[in-house]
């Protein structure tokens, strides 16, 4: 793993009307690494990651991309740094086809200023062929696709524009077992290409087998960080539910002080 992380979020804070949704949270991500961000609903994990994706503006803290401080004030800024987000609602424009979704907001135009659907579809076939070679339904509106197919379109959309940092919010929550496996394959594929991935979930079973490292949050604060091999599933659950940081993990500001699980 390279020395300079792809992303370093340091001492990030944000408050909504007096409630500290994220409080002094730090997280980092290396190239080719999958980091699972875990915690209950309302633990602040989605809020933290929305700061990275530009959806929210932080009150305090710094974000570094490739070791350099990054200015991220809106989703467009984040995209400029190669940060792409795939939201848990499988955010696609339902009524248009795959190519149109991939290029939404960044359409390829012909010299006459009209949409170049042929070029967009050709590129869509190329990218989808890399991710999901069985995918053939390029002419259908994406609402006709299965959950797994939609997820691969959403991922393709993110990597099409050379995303290097991918944020996946509950990537498999809406999917069946087979499709979940398919997304797992996709994530391995992306890892091997050197893309760093943040997985967000409140269910550790969804993400644990995919992740290299976990960061657990509770009440807006980081309980601790651990390599997946260094802690047991029960210990991670203890972090999520009780805020107890096990010996195998590096404690964060949210860890209950003085309590160490035997």
């Amino acid at each position: 793993m390279s020395n300079i992380p792809l992303v370093e979020m340091e001492n990030i804070s944000i408050a909504f009307g007096g409630i500290r949704a994220v409080d002094d949270a730090s997280a980092d991500l290396h190239a080719g690494e999958v980091v699972a961000l875990l915690g209950h609903n309302g633990a602040g994990k989605s809020t933290l990651i929305k700061i990275l994706s530009g959806a929210y503006k932080r009150d305090g803290g710094t974000i570094k991309v490739n070791g350099e401080e990054a200015v991220i004030n809106n989703p467009r800024d984040a995209k400029a740094y190669g940060i792409e987000t795939i939201y848990q609602t499988l955010a696609l424009a339902d009524n248009v086809d795959t190519a149109a979704n991939l290029y939404l907001g960044r359409e390829i135009m012909t010299p006459w200023g009209t949409l170049d659907d042929v070029a967009m579809e050709a590129k869509a076939r190329e990218v989808m062929g890399r991710l999901n070679p069985r995918f053939q339904r390029f002419k259908d509106p994406v609402k006709a696709l299965s959950g797994g197919q939609r997820q691969s379109v959403a991922i393709a959309r993110a990597i099409l524009f050379n995303a290097r940092i991918l944020i996946m919010d509950e990537p498999t929550a809406a999917l069946g077992p087979q499709e979940t496996a398919q997304v797992g394959e996709l994530i391995h594929q992306l890892k091997s290409e050197g893309i760093g991935i943040f997985l967000i979930s409140h269910d550790i079973h969804d993400v644990l087998h995919l992740a290299d490292r976990v960061i657990v949050m509770k009440n807006g604060r980081v309980v601790g960080t651990a390599r997946v091999g260094d802690v047991t599933e029960d210990e991670i659950l203890g972090m999520i539910i009780l805020g107890k940081c096990p010996p195998g993990a590096i404690p964060g500001p949210g860890a209950i002080s003085g309590v160490v699980l035997g």
Partner: protein
């Protein structure tokens, strides 16, 4: 569907045809057959030309409504806006501010287009910047435009005074080119332009995206408010184009000008297969919907089955039935 036992490949090819896209054209064909059975004069060239010509106002306005509705909006003010634009246009014509009949008419047309665009811009900006439901905004402007028209007309009607000007302007509604009435040509030109913008340009793609999923559009870097506002401006311009064709027909704007046009325009759009919740827009379906509305009225006049005074009721029923059909087709 009846053929649930059909083989897998057959089922797929059936599913490939989008029933909602085809339905309006089937309905139009059925109406033709029905009309021919009711009255032998129905299929006459004169009658059909007349029907298409009369559908011009609603068809042109409905093309604009297709944009607004595709982007997830709604414009109830189009009828009142038409009356207001017609009223101001005629008042301007009566001033005789520009020398020469054709110059005067051209200037008035430009004024009408600008007025329509501004009215649409007002609807769009209030909706997007004010973050108010388009239903409420355009319900409000519907009242405002209507009242302004009545105010300008001092309770009566606004008529073109100059007979020469009337004569010079008359061909825009009553004239034809190679036998094709000018209003029909206007419908075609506006529809082709509309289809081009909606299907072939970046803006059109963004309209669909905004109507499909506003959040996704926003995260894709699309300026949702700008797209929404522009659809209302397009609607306003379409209303103005309809007015350009409407004014020479009667040469006057009255308090009843454009009454219930919003119902007819929205009905035409919905019959045409555009989804009222946004994200799907069908320009040619809309044209088909406008023709269906006019044909139903025409058949009612030609037959003695239902009093023609009930046309509004029938049109109201049609939009409800069209929604029911859309829903049942969407459920398959």
């Amino acid at each position: 569907m009846s053929n649930t036992t059909a083989a897998q490949p057959a089922k797929r090819s059936l599913g490939d045809i989008d029933l909602r896209a085809v339905a309006p054209f089937v309905a139009l064909a059925v109406l033709f057959v029905f009309g021919a059975m009711v009255n032998p004069n129905f299929l006459g060239l004169d009658n059909l030309t007349n029907v298409v010509t009369r559908s011009a106002f609603i068809a042109i306005i409905a093309i604009g409504a297709t944009f607004v509705i595709s982007a997830g909006g709604l414009d109830l003010s189009v009828g009142s806006m038409a009356a207001f634009v017609a009223g101001t246009m005629i008042l301007f014509l009566n001033t005789g501010a520009v020398a020469g009949d054709s110059g005067m008419i051209a200037a008035a047309m430009c004024l009408a287009l600008a007025t329509g665009a501004l009215c649409g811009l007002a609807n769009g900006l209030i909706t997007t910047l004010g973050r108010i439901e388009p239903f409420i905004v355009t319900l409000g402007t519907m009242g405002i435009f209507r009242a302004l028209t009545i105010y300008l007309a001092e309770g009566g009607s606004i008529a073109m005074k100059s007979q020469e000007l009337r004569a010079a302007y008359r061909p825009i509604y009553f004239g034809n080119v190679l036998g094709v009435p000018i209003p029909v040509i206007v419908i075609l030109v506006v529809a082709i332009l509309g289809a081009f913008i909606l299907y072939r340009t970046r803006f059109g793609r963004h309209v669909m995206a905004v109507g499909s999923n506003e959040e996704v559009a926003r995260y894709s870097g699309i300026s949702v408010n700008r797209v929404r506002t522009l659809t209302y401006v397009i609607q306003g311009i379409c209303v103005a184009i309809a007015v350009l064709v409407y004014v020479p027909r009667l040469g006057a704007a009255t308090p009843t000008t454009g009454l219930l046009w919003e119902l007819q325009a929205i009905t035409a759009v919905v019959i045409g297969g555009t989804a009222l919740r946004g994200g799907v827009g069908r320009i040619w379906g809309t044209i088909c919907g406008a023709l269906i509305l006019e044909l139903v009225g025409n058949i009612m006049v030609l037959s003695d089955m239902v009093s023609e005074y009930l046309i509004g009721a029938v049109q109201g029923a049609i939009i409800i039935i069209a929604m029911l059909i859309q829903r049942s087709l969407g459920r398959r």
